[in-house]
């Protein structure tokens, strides 16, 4: 029981076990963080709104997104992935979620931000249902840890509406 092989095995197993315990404790400590983020999204302009050749509606918008996500960061946070999605219902689809913009916040210093942008990803419907459509804009965040469990949540902002006619 005292050969080098057995001792090395015992030491390595103990080291790995302690490392695993430290990783899970780091992850558990994230549960004590109570975040209080704020966000606001304004639709500044509908750039264009057309029906494509394949019959699907597409709209291009310019939005202003401002948010303060600094309360999401803990010592175990590697980055926060944030995105804004347009969510709406159509007769054919119970839910449509289309991401309009996403970004990565690498540290707490960058967590309070303001951005003015057109939609990064195309908002294309499955069908031609978007005229006069009411939709929500939700700001989602995914807190990606240095080790352990990912936390995700969102703020839903309602009350947006697309134009009645193509333009």
């Amino acid at each position: 029981m005292h050969s080098f092989g057995y001792r090395a095995n015992a030491v390595v197993t103990l080291a790995v076990t302690i490392l695993a315990m430290m990783c899970s404790m780091a992850s558990l400590s994230d549960n004590f963080n109570v975040p209080s983020p704020t966000a606001e999204v304004k639709v500044l302009n509908i750039n264009w709104f057309q029906k494509q050749a394949n019959g699907n509606d597409e709209v291009s918008l310019t939005v202003n997104i401002s948010a303060d996500l600094s309360s999401l960061f803990t010592w175990n946070t590697k980055q926060v992935f944030v995105f804004v999605a347009a969510e709406y219902e159509t007769p054919q689809n119970a839910l449509n979620q289309v991401s309009l913009w996403d970004g990565i916040i690498p540290s707490k210093d960058h967590a309070k931000f303001w951005i003015h942008t057109t939609n990064k990803y195309r908002l294309i419907d499955q069908g031609s249902n978007l005229r006069g459509k009411e939709f929500n804009l939700t700001l989602h965040w995914h807190v990606m840890p240095k080790t352990g469990k990912t936390f995700a949540d969102k703020i839903v902002m309602t009350g947006y509406r697309l134009p009645e006619e193509y333009r």
Partner: protein, 153 residues
């Protein structure tokens, strides 16, 4: 000791997460800086509907390698509850339509193996090295075998 504990943990994870392959190794840099090559992801597949922002692991028909990317678009049918999903790697410029099978525009639920719920850095390098340089795998198994044969008890 270490091999048997790893095996117990692996089998335990398979029971708890209800998935065949509860842990995957990140093979490419398409999700950087969040997930780097060599990290491992813990997967869980629940019956909850798939929503935008979730990181899912999926297979493209005809390809073996699983891909771990984020869902950016979801269209869920009223009547059947089936979904059309579009994914994209955080670090990629365009969405994954180039990766899907020829003519395929969307993923469906049956393509998805699981959601990534947790993460450990660096641990997956062992698997990557053993897959890409199989000689190391043979050396390791040879050395372990030798250890078993030559141990005094």
């Amino acid at each position: 000791m270490i091999v048997t504990s790893a095996l117990i943990i692996w089998k335990g994870l398979m029971c708890v997460t209800g998935s065949e392959s509860p842990v995957v190794v990140v093979l490419s840099g398409s999700m950087e800086p969040g997930f780097k090559r060599g990290d491992i992801l813990f997967l869980h597949m629940s019956k909850d509907p798939i929503r935008a922002g979730e990181i899912v692991v999926f297979h493209v028909d005809g390809r073996e390698i699983p891909i771990v990317h984020r869902v950016i678009k979801v269209h869920e049918r009223q009547d059947t509850g089936e979904v059309d999903i579009l994914t994209k790697g955080d670090n990629n410029f365009g969405d994954d339509r180039l990766l899907y099978a020829h003519g395929q525009l969307w993923l469906q639920r049956h393509h998805i193996m699981g959601r990534a719920v947790g993460f450990l850095p660096y641990v997956g390098w062992v698997t990557i090295i053993m897959t890409e340089k199989p000689i190391i795998k043979y050396l390791l198994i040879g050395a372990l075998g030798l250890l078993v044969i030559t141990s005094k008890e």
